[in-house]
């Protein structure tokens, strides 16, 4: 035990340091997959960086190497008097639940999961709304009438992606065929690009000409196979349009950076609020990527259709069903 805490404090010394100017002493813990995963964690990092560059308040950070470290690091930061402590990923729910009760004066921010305690702010996203928009785009872009989805680990969150995507596509074309694959049921499902590529090839062989990935590191293989196969991929979380310019139709953006930034700002101005925030299209927490890398793929009609759908969702005219509310997807 002594050895491991020494090791952690050594690691902490190498992370971003510097004197804190304001009252808040934030800390950020990234999930497995690393800080620069081009996805979820990187978005968290970008949010924290923006906060630091604007306020000058430094933060400490930690990249997990294994599941066992979650509670250890949380406790370590709390002991040091760090607050708020931002953690990225649904797998932190249980550790935060434990440690937040031990340190009631410390503020915690958890992304992608809900922990109902008076000192925890939970940030969840309406991924189904963004998936609806990219499903709509996929159906508009498809020429074969067949589109695909490759998910990572088979969990309700990823099924919500699949379900939103399906609803968006069916909105355009009731007869569209949608192929769905999940990579696995364990954590390894996030880091097997070879399997992701093989799943994508199988879908291409069955006629899919647009494939949406929500599979972390596995998804890199999906986008690669899509580009190799001359069809279109769709990215997730961060803007992945630039991975294969002209071959990624769009990306479903999950603005974790915005959420982290505003949570850190609130805490810095002594306005930390516990509770659950659900961020969707209306809150700017979810969006679709439209930049120079995919501008040639998005026609004016497509842009108009997706903008219209976006406004309809924001106004409540279209209600996208969330798989997580009843564990099923309307067909």
């Amino acid at each position: 035990m002594n050895c491991s805490s020494t090791l952690i404090s050594l690691l902490l010394c190498t992370s971003v340091g510097g004197a804190a100017l304001a009252e808040s002493k934030p800390a950020v813990i990234y999930g497995l997959g690393g800080k620069f995963d081009r996805s979820f964690n990187e978005s968290t990092y970008n949010g924290a960086q923006r906060f630091t560059s604007e306020t000058g308040t430094a933060y400490r950070e930690f990249e997990l190497q294994s599941d066992a470290q979650r509670e250890q690091v949380l406790r370590r930061f709390a002991q040091e008097g760090r607050s708020p402590i931002v953690v990225a990923g649904f797998a932190f729910a249980q550790p935060v639940n434990t440690v937040a009760q031990e340190y009631p004066d410390t503020s915690f921010v958890i992304i992608d999961s809900v922990v109902e305690l008076p000192n925890v702010r939970s940030l969840v996203f309406k991924e189904h709304e963004g998936s609806f928009l990219v499903g709509l785009l996929a159906a508009l872009a498809s020429e074969t009438g067949s589109i695909g989805f490759v998910g990572g680990m088979d969990i309700p969150l990823i099924r919500a992606f699949a379900c939103g995507y399906r609803q968006g596509a069916l909105e355009v074309d009731e007869d569209i065929s949608i192929l769905e694959n999940m990579t696995g049921t364990t954590g390894a499902a996030w880091s097997d690009p070879v399997k992701g590529g093989e799943l994508a090839r199988a879908q291409i062989g069955r006629g899919a000409d647009v494939i949406f990935q929500a599979a972390g590191g596995t998804g890199v293989g999906v986008l690669q196979a899509a580009a190799d196969g001359g069809i279109l991929g769709i990215g997730t979380d961060s803007n992945q349009n630039g991975l294969h310019p002209g071959q990624v139709l769009t990306s479903m953006l999950k603005r974790v950076d915005v959420a982290v930034y505003s949570a850190l700002m609130a805490a810095d101005q002594d306005a930390f609020e516990p509770g659950v925030s659900s961020l969707g299209l209306a809150e700017g927490g979810i969006d679709w990527a439209d930049d120079e890398n995919n501008s040639s793929l998005i026609s004016d009609e497509m842009r108009a259709a997706v903008t219209e759908a976006k406004e309809a969702i924001i106004s409540g005219e279209i209600v996208v069903h969330d798989y997580r509310t009843d564990d099923s997807c309307p067909s």
């Binding site: 997959g33 690393g34 800080k35 620069f36 995963d37 081009r38 964690n41 990249e63 695909g148 088979d154 099924r159 699949a162 192929l179 769905e180 694959n181 999940m182 696995g184 049921t185 390894a188 880091s191 097997d192 690009p193 070879v194 399997k195 590529g197 093989e198 799943l199 090839r201 199988a202 879908q203 062989g205 069955r206 590191g217 890199v220 293989g221 690669q224 190799d228 991975l243 099923s328 997807c329 067909s331």
Partner: protein, 319 residues
């Protein structure tokens, strides 16, 4: 089932079988010579990383392949040093190879590229592209998709099966190799160094794992992702036992395992994802098929799987 679909399943099976096959042959050399090799996974992993990192830095997949073979060879010799020269426990040495490879790949990757252990995405010039054999599109869809259109490494792997068979069964070296695993005392009595034969075997295994790793990161995908070997080294071990340490049987076992996975991918894509029972069942079978088959073989239902008599026992010259 139309012909296109069948061709596609077989093509997918071939691609998926290749890394397992190469690792399986690597294990065959090593275990036939009496050195248990549980570190196939680690050697493939360091090779996959070395290939992607080198290809990214130099821009050449050939350099990537060379780096992969060198890295894997270095790890193989480390395993050889621990288990042949130092006479250590071969299982423990193998396990530490696996852990060391995962750690060092992540650490080096972070230091070189600052991308949390990943390498940058490779461009098509930095990867092995798929080859079109002569008459690529003239001999029917099976030829076009299954026989032609793979990366060079796939053909090398199939050639390695023949090479392994020839080397192990038809040459003097092969006889010595098998003898080193079955009756090392006899080898030593004949005036041949058991240690040297075993080092050769372990080194050949290292080279084959190196090619397997390169296939994963610079042919099948475009870059290294942390732990991207995804237990393929252990599936190769299962295949090795299922094939009873024979090269052609290894080929068929690996193709069978690849085939089961490829079929699984197809079924999953067709079935409604809400049909949780069926998807879970397919996924379970697809992931655990190699292990289930191995247990069946080990339990003695399909003949008898007998490893080398001296496997796992460090050889001591003077007793």
């Amino acid at each position: 089932m139309d012909l296109d679909l069948i061709a596609q399943v077989f093509a997918s099976a071939t691609r998926l079988a290749t890394p397992i096959l190469l690792a399986c042959l690597a294990g065959l050399f090593s275990e036939r010579a009496g050195i248990l090799d549980i570190g196939l996974e680690g050697k493939m992993m360091i090779a996959a990383f070395a290939a992607a990192a080198t290809a990214s830095l130099t821009g050449s997949p050939v350099f990537g392949l060379c780096a992969a073979i060198s890295a894997s060879l270095a790890f193989a010799l480390l395993h050889g040093f621990a288990s042949i020269t130092l006479r250590g426990n071969q299982l423990i040495s193998g396990v530490s190879i696996n852990m060391f490879a995962l750690g060092i790949a992540g650490l080096t990757g972070s230091a070189l590229f600052g991308l949390s252990g990943r390498t940058p995405n490779l461009t098509s010039e930095q990867r092995f592209s798929n080859l079109c054999l002569p008459f690529h599109s003239d001999l029917g869809v099976i030829y076009r998709d299954v026989v032609s259109g793979h990366s060079a490494i796939v053909y090398v792997a199939f050639g390695c099966v023949l090479g392994t068979w020839w080397l192990v069964y038809k040459t003097r070296f092969g006889l010595r190799l098998r003898a080193a695993g079955e009756a090392p005392d006899a080898v030593e009595t004949a005036g041949i160094s058991v240690a040297r034969v075993r080092y050769y075997a372990v080194a050949i295994g290292g080279v084959l794992c190196g090619i397997a790793g390169a296939h994963l990161s610079i042919a099948l995908s475009a870059g290294y992702t942390e732990a991207m070997t995804a237990d393929r080294g252990f599936i190769a071990l299962a295949a090795l036992i299922f094939a009873k340490w024979r090269p052609f049987a290894a080929l068929f076992t690996c193709l069978l395992f690849g085939f089961v996975q490829a079929i699984g991918f197809q079924i999953e894509g067709v079935v409604e994802i809400d049909n949780r029972w069926l998807t879970t069942l397919v996924e379970f079978l697809e992931a655990s098929f190699p292990y289930i088959m191995t247990v069946i073989v080990l339990a003695g239902f399909v003949g008898k799987a007998t490893p080398s008599a001296a496997g796992g026992i460090p050889y001591t010259k003077e007793r």
